[in-house]
């Protein structure tokens, strides 16, 4: 039995009487690629927002590797080991590519260096900066952005900006990586490239990944298990093929 990284119990949230999401139970094992699918407005991003502490769930509990993280702040949840990307890309636009990743490395214990040490440029500052740069480069290599590391992130093409967001999330050394529509707006070639990167991240970092995606080919080609949401409730769950072929799911998508 593999280790369970993420477990939600009856997760739900309502906004002023409107139940946006209710009774979501997800269990994700280590090194699993898990998909969260559903039509527009089904509450997928809301689930992400609850998992990362943007919203506080009104009901239910979230456990990360056995630890209850319900209602913790975004920073704390990130320190505990959940990192995410955003549906509408949120990079640090005025920074170069490598700096974006360096911010991600900020809280890693091996790069500890107090503000005082930085202010007066004590030797540890330089050791830490150098080590961080090396680490950042190695992460950029995984997503294939090493060449572009000195370009401002806002000047990157769209597909590469998405990859950079993944790199930045990866840099925080998470136990669980949440990807919000990573393939949105990509052409088939880029999508295939991204699929390779995601599998590579899983294998190289022993990463557990939860992703939202609309591209069914992408989901069925990548995910081991999926949860299908519709109107904030779970429609189907389990093995990718079975869940996606569920007549209810097809109905929800095609509207038959």
């Amino acid at each position: 039995m593999a280790e369970i990284i993420l477990k939600t119990e009856n997760l739900g949230i309502s906004f002023g009487g409107l139940k946006a999401v209710q009774d979501v139970n997800i269990e994700i094992q280590k090194k699993q690629l898990y998909g969260l699918v559903g039509p527009n407005g089904a509450g997928k991003t809301t689930v992400f927002n609850m998992l990362t502490g943007v919203y506080r769930p009104t009901t239910g509990q979230i456990y990360l590797a056995g630890e209850n993280i319900t209602g913790k702040s975004q920073e704390i949840i990130n320190h505990k080991g959940i990192a995410r990307t955003f549906q509408n890309i949120r990079l640090f636009n005025n920074m170069t590519v490598i700096r974006n990743v360096l911010v991600g490395l900020h809280n890693q214990p091996e790069f500890k260096c107090s503000m005082i040490e930085s202010m007066f440029r004590l030797p540890r500052h330089f050791q830490c900066e150098k080590a961080m740069r090396e680490k950042a480069k190695s992460i950029l290599r995984v997503v294939g952005l090493e060449e572009e590391r000195n370009i401002l992130s806002c000047n990157l093409p769209y597909g590469k900006q998405r990859k950079l967001e993944i790199a930045r999330a990866l840099a925080t050394n998470p136990k669980l990586l949440l990807l919000d529509e990573p393939a949105a707006g990509m052409n088939p070639h880029e999508t295939e490239d991204l699929m390779n990167i995601i599998t590579r991240i899983r294998d190289e970092y022993d990463m557990t990944i939860l992703l939202i995606e609309h591209d069914m080919k992408f989901v069925s080609g990548l995910c081991d298990e999926v949860t299908v949401l519709n109107f904030g409730t779970v429609l189907a769950q389990g093995d990718t093929k079975t869940a996606l072929n569920d007549p209810e799911v097809i109905k929800a998508y095609i509207g038959g």
Partner: protein, 290 residues
């Protein structure tokens, strides 16, 4: 009796603050900018009043001249200084507004010098009922400001232009697509704000007849505070904030121990209210999408 007098005084100066605050709040709500030059429009109106009174000798004529001049000035400033920056960083617009404020102040100083001018509008005496003694100008200010505020609320609520204003404020792009002349609406907003500032200047000079080029600076900042207390963007909020500030000021002036600290107390109220309600009493919050 003294309590009632103080309260009426407070309401009246609060009405003046509210009128200035309305200018801030409307410009903020529609043009999405902090018009730091708004206070100086009051000062310009004051000088216009002064000039007309010297030449024509009639305060009512002076008020009309001041209102017209301020409206024209407001529109001109908007066209020259703010319109080119539409779509630029809010900070850039803020700095330009500060520049305009300096410009108005120094121009006034160049024309009229530094020595304060006396503008005695009319000595109307006091309204007396028993022991109650209230200067007439206080009552005039009080009544006028309330009439103006109610008229403005009705204007925004019921007229086509008013509804267009709300639409532009909600979503400029969508309003434009619906066929609303956004530039025209912003121009009207500045015109209304400036007209209100001219009125406020008139009332201020009625109370204290000394006119200098910094006449509008402190009331401007305080009215801005009032607008923020009420919740910037909210018309009733600006009124409440202005009146609250005016009453607090009047009460504070009456207590000798804290009288010198009146300004500090007013700003303290602002900080406390914002700590309890980060968007002011009637402000609305829009959540950022994640």
């Amino acid at each position: 009796m003294e309590i009632i007098e103080t309260l009426i005084n407070g309401l009246s100066s609060g009405g003046t603050y509210a009128m200035i605050a309305l200018g801030y709040t409307m410009v903020y709500g529609i043009a999405k900018m902090l018009n730091f030059a708004h206070g100086d429009i009051i000062m310009v109106g004051g000088y216009m009043l002064y000039v007309t009174m010297i030449t024509a000798g009639n305060p009512m004529l002076g008020l009309i001249a001041a209102v017209i001049f301020c409206v024209l000035l407001g529109i001109t400033v908007e066209k020259i200084a703010y319109k080119p920056l539409r779509g630029a960083s809010p900070l850039a617009v803020l700095i330009t507004a500060i520049g305009v404020s300096y410009l108005l102040q120094s121009t006034a100083q160049m024309i009229f010098g530094t020595a304060p001018k006396m503008v005695i509008i009319a000595d109307m005496g006091n309204f007396e009922v028993g022991a109650l003694k209230i200067p007439y100008y206080t009552i005039v200010t009080l009544v006028c400001s309330f009439v103006i505020m109610i008229a403005l609320t009705m204007f925004v609520k019921t007229t086509k232009i008013g509804r267009a204003m709300v639409a532009v404020s909600e979503d400029r792009g969508a309003a434009q697509l619906m066929g609303i002349n956004v530039n025209g609406i912003i121009m009207i907003t500045f015109a209304i704000g400036s007209a209100l500032a001219a009125f406020a200047g008139f009332f201020m000079l009625m109370k204290a007849p000394s006119l200098s080029n910094t006449l509008g600076a402190m009331p401007g900042i305080k009215a801005f505070t009032a607008a923020v207390i009420g919740g910037i963007g909210s018309i009733p909020g600006a009124m409440c904030g202005g009146i609250l500030l005016g009453v607090v000021e009047a009460i504070s002036f009456k207590i000798p121990v804290i009288a010198p600290y009146t300004d500090a107390i007013e700003f303290m109220i602002l900080i406390l209210i914002l700590l309890v309600r980060p968007t002011g009493i009637m402000g609305k919050v829009r959540r950022e999408k994640v």
